[in-house]
């Protein structure tokens, strides 16, 4: 089984260390959570994993292949896809074109790209919206388009950057069901980056906690819930541990 792994990934620029020797591994079919306070380096890590940013130290690999140094679309063709905060759709284009152009970028023929785009929209539950202009969709549907776009070409791994941001509990529950299907039905390895800690505790195992550019804890949801270090990172001080932030977020 091929794994997607970060090995001692470091990103430092101008005296600032955004990531320091971060190890992380995702297996096919697994949903790994990545949480941490604002500015912890979560998106930087996703950028490094998908080639949007070069690490200054360490390496990213997929099975035996070293990915770091490859361009984003090359990594995408190797089977590592991502979504972006806020969706980043082509907002002037119809929904179906957003997926189709992704398929074409992956080297598919136009006919194959359209066929897969149609299937994919049905699969993520927005088949009826295919011809709508992407920028006119409500954000919950926009997120589904972004996820559908990431799943074009059946990637082995997909990295979801804050897909639940701004969602209500009910909307987040729908999203959680979709993410489970991505791992279960597609066998895709998922790395979920989320501020909604409740969603992550519910969906992911293991969970890694990033704080100030370093992984401070990795483990099953129960262990993360119980961790003093995690509480400290989120609350600033361990003494305030009775503030039920993690519980509230569920």
């Amino acid at each position: 089984m091929q794994r997607l792994g970060a090995d001692k990934v470091t990103v430092a620029f101008e005296g600032l260390t955004a990531l320091s020797e971060v190890d992380l591994e995702v297996s096919p079919g697994q949903i790994v959570g990545l949480i941490g306070p604002n500015g912890a380096g979560k998106t930087t890590l996703v950028n490094v994993l998908t080639g949007f940013q070069a690490p200054t130290g360490g390496a990213v690999s997929l099975g035996g292949t070293v990915l770091s140094g490859l361009k984003p679309h090359e990594i995408r063709r190797q089977g590592v896809a991502r979504t972006f905060q806020g969706g980043r759709l082509f907002r002037d284009l119809p929904v179906i074109d957003n997926l189709e152009v992704t398929g074409i970028g992956l080297g598919q023929s136009r006919r194959a790209a359209i066929a897969e785009a149609e299937r994919m929209l049905d699969w993520v539950g927005i088949g009826a919206l295919a011809d709508r202009i992407a920028g006119t969709l409500p954000y919950t549907d926009e997120r589904r388009v972004a996820i559908g776009r990431a799943l074009m070409g059946k990637p082995a791994f997909v990295l979801l950057d804050e897909p639940a941001a701004g969602m209500s509990a009910a909307e987040a529950a729908d999203l959680a069901a979709l993410i489970r299907r991505i791992a279960g039905e597609m066998g895709c390895g998922v790395l979920l980056i989320e501020h909604n800690v409740g969603l992550v505790l519910d969906l992911c195992d293991p969970i890694a906690v990033l704080d100030s550019g370093a992984i401070i804890e990795t483990g099953a949801p129960a262990a993360i819930r119980a961790s003093e270090k995690v509480r400290h990172a989120y609350m600033g001080t361990a003494a305030d541990s009775d503030l039920p932030v993690l519980e509230v977020m569920e």
Binding site: N47, F52, P72, H73, R76, R77, F84, R88, F90, R91, D92, L93, D97, E100, V101, T102, I104, G105, L106, G107, R110
Partner: protein, 304 residues
């Protein structure tokens, strides 16, 4: 009635020129964030291609005597070719430069093209009799409309339809639409940037050549200054339309054409010599109300 029809055709044919020009500028701006000020000189260069193979001061019409079904593709190919050449030799080197740097480079390129023509042909306008059959008037509902106006409008409509369906229905068109909206993202999804940019330059150059053909037939002259006026109006149209928005560019081009023609006939006689001042005044008014343009395009690159 016939006077109104005459005004309508004048407005549409002038608007066609501006719309085609604006489209050529917007296409390149869309994929590169480059305002190509050399566009007007590509127009002029295409007109002078009618004099080929003769390249001296007393040049005589050469290629311009080709039958129309060879002449039109020839001139379009010259425009497209020059534009692609400009991309390969100049703009490719400025891919990651700031928009201001690229704009200055385009000014410089425009001067190079203009002075190249000046060197060969001198600044004196050349008389060319291009497709003389087009100067016949035709009668439409009692109004005598020059056939050339009718053809200009029809050709523009055909070009707009053709371009729209090209962008909508072909793989290349899809890549271009995606790249025009967010070039960085399109590239990261694996859209082939060089091909898309070269395609945009080729289309834009062919549009410039189409304007050249129309201007050449209208005026019967080839003049190195020819593209400049259209270029200025076309640039204004792309700004009013919302930089980067293709439909916006076309609509604004037609609006500007209409405004010019309508002011020409409605302004008091004494004010008519200052028509352009009134047109530009209207432009300023529009931009004060909608600084982002009528249909706002995307002028800034998003952060990844």
């Amino acid at each position: 009635m016939s006077a109104i029809l005459q005004i309508l055709f004048d407005a549409l044919s002038l608007g066609s020129l501006y719309a085609l020009g604006a489209l050529g500028i917007a296409l390149i701006f869309g994929v590169m964030r480059l305002v190509n000020f050399a566009h007007g000189d590509v127009i002029a260069f295409s007109i002078f291609a009618l004099l080929w193979p003769s390249v001296d001061v007393v040049a005589r019409v050469g290629a311009g005597n080709l039958p129309w079904f060879l002449l039109i593709p020839f001139v379009l190919a010259v425009g497209a070719g020059l534009s692609v050449l400009a991309e390969l030799t100049v703009f490719r080197r400025f891919r990651n430069a700031s928009p201001a740097t690229m704009m200055i480079a385009s000014f410089a390129l425009g001067f190079v093209i203009r002075y190249f023509l000046l060197m060969l042909y001198s600044s004196r306008p050349k008389s060319i009799s291009l497709l003389p059959a087009l100067s016949q008037p035709v009668e439409i509902l009692g109004a005598r409309i020059p056939l050339l106006q009718v053809i200009t409008i029809l050709a523009t409509v055909a070009i707009l339809f053709g371009l729209t369906s090209f962008l909508r229905r072909t793989r290349f068109g899809l890549e271009m639409r995606a790249a025009a909206e967010n070039f960085t993202m399109a590239r990261m999804l694996g859209v082939r940037a060089n091909r898309v940019i070269m395609g945009a330059f080729a289309l834009s150059g062919a549009l410039a050549a189409a304007i050249g053909l129309i201007l050449g037939s209208q005026t019967g002259t080839a003049d190195i200054q020819m593209g400049a006026n259209v270029m200025l109006m076309a640039f204004i149209a792309t700004v009013i339309g919302g930089l980067g928005s293709l439909p916006g560019a076309v609509i604004a081009g037609f609006l500007l054409g209409a405004a010019s023609v309508v002011m020409q006939v409605t302004l008091p006689i004494d004010a008519r010599p200052f028509r352009d001042a009134f047109v530009y005044g209207a432009v300023i008014a529009i931009l004060i109300v909608r600084p982002q343009g009528l249909l706002s395009g995307r002028g800034t690159k998003e952060r990844v």
